[in-house]
Assembly symmetry: C2
Homo-oligomer: 280 residues x 2
C-alpha cells in the first residue's frame, strides 16, 4: 500500500485476520497480536503477518496504521493500553459492529485526532483466523465513524485503506449508526439465535430444515462472545427493536388464533412488499 | 418414466411447474392446468406440458398419475371436483406444505386408496411458472403421507415418482408431519415476514443489510397467498411455535434490559450449540 509501511493488527479473528492477510499481500509489514497463541503461530506460519507483537505491545510504536479487531467489549481496554505507544500512528481504527462506545473510548484515551471507527459489513456466521481471507472485503460496505477531533487526514487515510481492500466506505454518525444497526444487523442475529433455541427445545436438527429454514438459522452459528458484547454495548436500541419484533409475532399469533385470514394475508403481504421494494 | 404414460398436473407454479417439466423431459404426456391463462400458454409454448386441461377437467380421465399443486386451501375443492373422473388414476398426490387436511380431503372425496400426500422440501422464496425447473427436486427430501386406505401399490408409485425426479422420499404420519413442520418450516417463514415488517416500519431497505440480514429476510419474498393458506391450515401447532419464539425473544430482552451479561451469553450459546450439532 502506498501510504503504509508498517501496520499493527490486534486480534486475528475473521475480520482482523482478513485485514492482516490483505495488508500483507499488499506489501505492508504487518505486526499481529492475538490472545490465542495457536492463532498467532498459524498467522506467522501462513505468512498472514510478518511478526507477532508481544503482550506488552513492544514494537507497536513502528506502526503508522493500527487496526483493533477485538470484541467490542475489549476495544476500550486495548485502546487505553496502546495509546501511550501510538506516537507514530497516522490512523487508528477498529472493526467492531458498534461505534459509539469505541469512539468515546478513543477520545478518552487521547487519540481522538487519529481515530476513525470502522464497521465493515463483511462478516457471516464464521469466525476465527481459519475463516479469514484477504478478499473478504471485496464489494463490502464499510461504515466510518470519526470522533469529534478526527483530522481530515486521518479520515482520508481510513477511506483509502478500505478502498485498497476492495470495500465501499461511507461516513456515518456513531450514535446514528448504532441505532440503525440495531435493526438491520443485531435484530436479525437475535432472531436467528432465538429461532435456533426453539428448534433445539423441539429436538429439530438443522439437517431437518429446508433451504429457507437453513437461511434463517445460519447466523445462529456466530460467535457467542462477540454477539454478547455487541448486544450489551447497544442495549437500548436493540431492546426496542426486539420488542417491535415480539409485537409483530404477537399480532400474527392473535390473527392465527382468531382465524382472521385477512389479517394473516396482510402480515405476509407486508413482508413481501418490503422484499420486492429492493432486492440487491 | 417407466410406469406412467399420461399425467395431469393441476397448478403450474414453482412446484407444479417443476413436476410438469421433469415429467415431460422423461417422456410422459403431461396435461396441465393453471387458473392463470398466461401461465398455461407459457407452459405449452415452452414445451413444459403437452396440452392444457380445460376448466371442466375433460381429458383428465386419461391420466394414471394426478398431481395437485395448488395452495393448500384450494386442494380439497380440486380433489372433490376431480374425484368422479379419476377412474384410471393409479396415484393421486399433492405437493402442499401441510398434510393432515389434504389426506382427510382425499378420503372424503372417496380416493383414499390411490392418494398419497407429498411434501417436497424444495421451495424457496420464489414462486410461479417462471421460477420452475425440471431439476428442482434433485437431492431434496420429500415427505409422503398415505391415508388410512392407501394401497401398497399407490405408495410404491409415489416413492418411485419422487426417486425418478431425483428426490429422497420418506414416509410420515400426516398429523405428526404438520406438527413438525410448524416448527422447522412455518415458524422460520413467520419469523422472516415479521422481521421484514419491523425493517419496513423503520424504513430500512434490503440493500442496507449485510449477508446475514439478507439470509434472514429472503423468505419474506415468498407468496403471501400460499403462506396465508398454510398458516391457517396448521394454526394450532404454528401458534404454539410462534409463542415459543416470542418467549425466547422476551427472555433475551429481559436480560438485555437488566444488564445480565451471563444470560445474554447463554442465549447466544444455546443457538450456537444447536448450529454446531449438525450443519449439513
Amino acid at each position: 500500500m502506498r501510504e503504509t509501511e508498517c501496520a499493527a493488527v490486534v486480534g486475528l479473528g475473521l475480520i482482523g485476520g482478513s485485514v492482516a492477510r490483505a495488508l500483507t499481500e499488499r506489501g505492508v509489514r504487518v505486526l499481529g497480536f492475538d490472545h490465542d497463541d495457536a492463532t498467532l503461530r498459524a498467522a506467522v506460519a501462513e505468512g498472514g503477518i510478518h511478526s507477532p507483537l508481544a503482550a506488552d505491545w513492544a514494537g507497536v510504536e513502528d506502526a503508522e496504521l493500527v487496526v483493533i479487531a477485538v470484541p467490542v467489549d475489549a476495544a476500550a481496554g486495548v485502546l487505553a493500553a496502546l495509546a501511550p505507544r501510538l506516537g507514530r500512528a497516522l490512523l487508528v481504527t477498529d472493526v467492531g459492529s458498534t461505534k459509539a462506545s469505541v469512539v468515546d473510548a478513543a477520545r478518552a484515551a487521547g487519540i481522538g485526532a487519529t481515530f476513525v471507527g470502522s464497521h465493515p459489513l463483511a462478516g457471516d456466521h464464521r469466525s476465527g483466523w481459519a475463516a479469514s481471507r484477504a478478499e473478504l472485503f471485496h464489494g463490502a460496505r464499510v461504515f466510518l465513524a470519526p470522533t469529534a477531533e478526527t483530522t481530515a487526514a486521518a479520515l482520508r487515510r481510513a477511506e483509502s485503506l478500505w478502498r485498497e481492500l476492495g470495500a465501499r466506505a461511507e461516513q456515518v454518525d456513531a450514535a446514528e449508526h448504532d441505532r440503525r444497526l440495531a435493526v438491520t444487523s443485531h435484530l436479525p442475529q437475535v432472531a436467528a439465535s432465538a429461532l435456533a433455541s426453539v428448534l433445539a427445545e423441539r429436538g429439530a436438527d438443522r439437517a431437518e430444515l429446508g433451504p429457507g429454514g437453513r437461511d434463517m438459522t445460519r447466523l445462529a452459528g456466530s460467535s457467542p462472545a462477540m454477539w454478547t458484547a455487541i448486544a450489551a454495548d447497544n442495549a437500548l436500541p436493540l431492546s426496542a427493536a426486539v420488542a417491535a419484533l415480539e409485537e409483530r409475532l404477537h399480532d400474527f399469533r392473535r390473527a392465527l388464533d382468531g382465524g382472521d385470514g385477512a389479517e394473516l394475508r396482510r402480515f405476509f403481504e407486508r413482508g413481501n412488499r418490503w422484499f420486492g421494494r429492493a432486492d440487491p
